[in-house]
């Protein structure tokens, strides 16, 4: 159950990186948006006493707002430079939370972000007696909503526009695409989804520490779509499954599984450089489906 919940956070995080990757940019800022969403939503429920749904949405909005803000300077940088600039953003966010102190006392407990000691007392689920199943269902509600939204986007013109920007910016601009709008929108959408993921995660974890939101998390965020494939929303999901099943499925190997982890990433990139589910595979699957349908018609 809790594994499924974890999948949910990871899929959202992977999707948030995916939408930016569509425009041809690699952003390491997703971990920063995730942290912002987590701290904001946790503050909303634990300190301001908000109900959970507005708190989660606020987390998403804050993530989206920062995505929007980071989107503008990020226009000036691209490629590998953007990777580093966004990594810097993530680290700056982490440093802010390393120093941020904003706590209240409830009885004998300290609640709120207490700088290096982390954010304690995010007990909304516990106080309201939510079961693990309810938490899972609540998380997946958001995951499915975002998945549906992204799936629609991929099929609509918006998805093609983002991909076109990713393929060739100059050509995209000269067929009428507003590059600034497309890139900033992708960044804001990515920030929003990462913020939601963080907000949900904060309430699941009940305790936040800035250490979790560093370069490693950012790397995972981009690794999900890159290893899973950027051809469709199934890519990031495949990536999450790949990593999660590795981490949890290889447990019988004990310590050795972490060794295998790196080796498997390298092997995957050698064997399937465009990800597990690449454009070619999607097309083959689609052709297969078409074939079936045509056969069904023929059978009528």
């Amino acid at each position: 159950m809790s594994l499924l919940t974890l999948f949910g956070f990871r899929i959202l995080l992977g999707l948030s990186a995916y939408v930016v990757i569509l425009t041809g940019q690699i952003s390491m800022a997703q971990a920063g948006f995730y942290a912002l969403g987590a701290y904001t939503a946790a503050t909303a429920t634990a300190i301001w006493g908000w109900p959970i749904v507005p708190a989660i949405l606020l987390g998403g909005l804050v993530g989206g707002l920062f995505g929007f803000l980071v989107g503008f300077p990020a226009l000036r940088v691209r490629g590998l430079f953007l990777v580093i600039a966004t990594l810097a953003f993530t680290e700056i966010v982490r440093m802010v939370f390393l120093n941020l102190k904003y706590t209240i006392r409830v009885g004998d407990r300290t609640i709120g972000p207490a700088a290096a000691e982390g954010f304690r007392g995010i007990t909304y689920y516990y106080e309201n007696g939510w079961s693990a199943l309810q938490i899972m269902a609540f998380t997946w509600l958001f995951v499915l909503a975002v998945l549906a939204g992204f799936w629609l986007m991929d099929r609509s013109r918006a998805g093609a526009v983002l991909r076109a920007v990713g393929e060739d910016e100059l050509a995209a601009a000269s067929v009428g695409i507003n590059l600034t709008a497309a890139k900033v929108a992708a960044m804001a959408a990515g920030g929003l989804v990462a913020g939601l993921a963080g907000a949900l995660y904060a309430h699941y974890a009940t305790y936040l520490s800035q250490e979790e939101f560093g370069a490693l998390l950012a790397t995972f965020a981009i690794a999900y779509p890159l290893v899973g494939g950027t051809g469709s929303v199934a890519g990031p999901i495949a990536g999450v499954l790949f990593f999660s099943l590795l981490i949890d499925g290889l447990r019988f190997l004990g310590d050795w599984r972490n060794l295998l982890f790196g080796v498997l990433i390298i092997a995957m990139m050698n064997l399937r450089p465009h990800g597990i589910i690449d454009v070619g595979l999607v097309r083959r699957l689609r052709a297969l489906l078409h074939l079936r349908r045509e056969r069904a018609y023929a059978g009528d």
Binding site: R157, A160, R163, L170, A171, S174, V175, G176, L179
Partner: protein
């Protein structure tokens, strides 16, 4: 229609285009020729907003569009193709045009992004047919043959239905049969009311279709006029054949 007035562009120490004046009349085919490096493509890039000019203005009808971003120039009515083919290789032929279509159909409004656009689909289909690509519609652009890629470039530009089309060496790398097909297509476009600027190395094609020809050398316009007269111009011959020593 399209007016270029005293246009100049300097890259570092290189004067790529120097005070070029050019008038393109409505519904004409203007040939723009000149040796390699004479500034032809730079002019296309200046008009379409890829570069900002150092000096000079670009006007479309009465509107000053100097320095506009590429997507706004297209929206104003000027489309272009690229000398080196620049397709969205990972998208299908059909998607390449679909992307181009968005510029017209209510971009920026949510409805425009999400709604099914029947008129647009019809238009894309017609454009694909015009460029003889209908049977390749679901192929990835990067898997097309060279000639097909050139046709897709043109189709993508035409999808947005610009009044003025700048064709940057559309015949480069094509064989004789393909060039003939291209010639017919350009003439059809003129019949349909388009204004066309044809930048080309292939002289026969330019001489056949263009009503007027402008010649560039070292970033300057050295001649302008009907094809036959330009061909006999002394300066043009020099530019192409080198200075006579005698």
């Amino acid at each position: 229609m399209l007016a270029i007035e005293g246009l100049s562009k300097r890259f570092g120490g290189v004067q790529a285009v120097q005070r070029v004046d050019l008038q393109v009349r409505q519904n004409e085919i203007l040939g723009l020729i000149g040796p390699n490096g004479s500034g032809k493509s730079t002019i296309v890039n200046l008009v379409t907003g890829v570069y900002a000019p150092t000096e000079g203005r670009v006007r479309l009808r009465a509107r000053d569009i100097t320095g506009w971003a590429p997507h706004r120039v297209l929206a104003a009515g000027i489309g272009r193709t690229f000398q080196s083919i620049r397709l969205f290789g990972g998208l299908t032929v059909w998607q390449n045009l679909w992307v181009a279509r968005q510029a017209q159909a209510g971009a920026g409004r949510l409805r425009g992004w999400l709604a099914v656009d029947r008129a647009g689909m019809k238009r894309i289909e017609a454009t694909l047919e015009f460029c003889r690509l209908l049977d390749r519609r679901d192929e990835l652009a990067r898997n097309l043959a060279f000639g097909e890629q050139r046709r897709l470039e043109l189709a993508r530009t035409l999808t947005a239905d610009p009044e003025v089309v700048l064709l940057d060496e559309p015949a480069a790398g094509m064989n004789v049969a393909e060039i003939e097909e291209l010639r017919d297509r350009i003439l059809t476009l003129k019949q349909r009311g388009k204004t066309i600027v044809l930048i080309e190395h292939h002289m026969e094609l330019v001489m056949e279709v263009a009503e007027r020809v402008a010649v560039l050398n070292f970033g300057e316009k050295i001649a302008e006029g009907p094809p036959a007269r330009v061909q006999d111009d002394e300066r043009v011959r020099e530019a192409y054949l080198g200075k006579r020593r005698d």
